[in-house]
Subunit: 157 residues, 4 copies
C-alpha cells in the first residue's frame, strides 16, 4: 500500500518507473549490454518496496511540495531550497541515506549520475523556475543508483 | 545572520544553547572531568556556525513545524513522523549528515546519546503528544555529539 | 564457503557466534523480552552471509594480524593501531560500512554498543597489551548492531 | 611530521601532490575556469594535513603494500584485493570516510571521479598487474574530491 502511494506521488510529480529504469540502464549498460529496460524496471520496483526508501521518497517530496506552497518554515529557507543552492546539500544527505543501504557501488553510481544528469533528472532540474524538485531529482538518482548496485551484485552471483 | 536565525528557532522550539552544552558535558565529562559548561557552549556555538549544520537544523525544524500544522504531504506521513515511528529513520539520516562532518567520534557519541536521551533530548521526546520534535531531538543530539568529537580532537592536539 | 572462513577466523581470534548473539541480546532484550539467544544467533548468521560484511570482517582481521606481526607499513602506524588511539577512527569507518547496509537503527545501536562494550567487546578490548583487536571489536559491534537492526525491522512487519 | 610521511609514502607509491591537484582541476575547472593548479595543490595540502585523512591514507597504503608482499591474512583475500574485485568495496568505504568529513559536494565528486578516472587514477588502475593500488586510487580520488568540495565552499563565501 505504501508502495502504491509512492508510485502515485512519483506520477503526480511527473516521474514514471520507466524514467527511473532509463537512468539504471544509463548506469549499467556499459557493463551489461544485454540488460533490458524491463529488467531495470523490475529492480527499481524492488528498491521502491524497501521501507526506508519509501520514507525518504515521501519526506523528500513532502519538502519539495511544502516549498512550492510557501509553507516551509520561512521565506529564506524556501528560497535556498527552491534554488537548489549548491551548498544546501540536505537533498544529497537524504539520497545517501538510500544509497548506503545498497553498498559502495550504489554510492559511486549516485555521485556519477548526479553530475551527468541523464533523462528525467535533467528534465526535473530544468523545471526549477516554477516547481521545486530539489529533493526529488536526488532521490530518483539514489533509487536508480541503488538499483544499479543491486544489478551489479546479482550479476556477480 | 544565518547563525542568529538558528539560535532564534532553537529558542522558539524550547531549546537553549546551554541545554545542548549540558548534553556535551554528559558525553565528555568522564574523559575530561575539568571541562566546564561554558567551554562546551563555546564549542556548540562553533558547530552551529557551520553552514551544513545550519541547513540541516532549519530543514529538520521545518519538517517538525509542517507536521504540527498538518501541512506535510499527507495525513499518513504526518502521523508516522509525529509518532517518531521506530523505523522512520529519516531524522537519524539528517543527524548523521551533521555527525559525518566531525568524524568517527561524533558518530559513536550520537548513537550513545540517542539511546541515553539525557536532559533536553528526553524532554523533547516526552513532548510528543502535542508538539512534533521528531527531527529536533536528533539534530540536537547530533550537534552535541559533534561538539563532543571536536573537544576530543582539541584535547589530543 | 566464504562464510565458513569468516566463522573460522572469528573462532581463531577468540570470538564465537554466541558471543556476538549475546551482544544482540544486550541491545534488543529491553524492547523484546521474549527474544532468545538462539534467535539472535540466527540473525547474526544471516548478517555474516552478506558479502560486504564478510569483506569488511576479513579486511579488519587482516589489519589486526598484520599489526601483531609487525608487518603493517611502519612501526609508527602499527603503534597507533595497536594502541587503538582515540583519534584513529579507521576501525569505526569500517564498522560504519557494515551498519550503513542495515539502516539507521543499526547505526545508533553501534554507537551505543561501542560505548557500553558488553561481553566479548570488553574482553577483546582488555586484551590490547598482547594481541591487536582494534578492528575486530568494532566489527563485532557492527555485526551485532546490524543484527539488532534486522530484528527491529522484522518485529515491525 | 605525520604530513611529511604521508607525502613521502605517496611519492614512494608514484603519486605527487600535483597529480592530485590535476584531479581537483578536472573536477572544478568547469565551475571556476580561472582556477590554477597551484591553488588546487594548496587545498590538497590542507586536506592532507587533517589527521583522519592521514590515518585513512596510511592504512590504505598499508593494505596495498601488505597485499603486494603476500602478507595480508590469506591468499584468497589477497587475490580479491589485488584484483580490485568489483564487489570488494572496502576501499570505497575508506574513501567515504574521508569525503564525509567534507560534506555532500565531496561525496558526489568522489562518485564522479571514481567513474571517470582522470590522470593519475587511471594510471594507478592500469598498474594492477604488478603492483596493488586498490586502496590508493580510491584514497587519491577521495582527497581530490574533498579538495574540490573545499574549493566550492570557499568560492561561495
Amino acid at each position: 500500500m505504501m508502495y502504491e502511494r509512492c508510485v502515485a506521488y512519483l506520477d503526480q510529480r511527473g516521474v514514471t518507473l520507466d524514467d527511473i529504469a532509463d537512468c539504471v540502464l544509463f548506469l549499467q549498460q556499459r557493463y551489461h549490454p544485454e540488460l533490458t529496460l524491463a529488467q531495470c524496471r523490475n529492480v527499481v520496483e524492488e528498491v521502491l518496496h524497501k521501507r526506508e526508501v519509501q520514507y525518504a521518497l515521501l519526506t523528500g517530496i513532502g519538502i519539495d511540495v511544502a516549498v512550492e506552497n510557501h509553507r516551509f518554515l520561512d521565506p529564506q529557507l524556501e528560497m535556498i531550497v527552491q534554488a537548489d543552492a549548491p551548498l544546501y546539500g540536505i537533498d544529497e544527505v537524504l539520497a545517501y541515506g538510500i544509497c548506503n543501504l545498497y553498498g559502495s557501488i550504489a554510492l559511486t553510481n549516485y555521485g556519477y549520475i548526479d553530475k551527468c544528469k541523464p533523462g528525467i533528472i535533467e528534465k526535473l532540474n530544468r523545471d526549477h523556475a516554477v516547481n521545486c524538485h530539489t529533493f526529488l531529482d536526488d532521490i530518483i538518482g539514489a533509487v536508480a543508483a541503488s538499483a544499479a548496485g543491486k544489478i551489479a551484485h546479482n550479476y556477480e552471483k
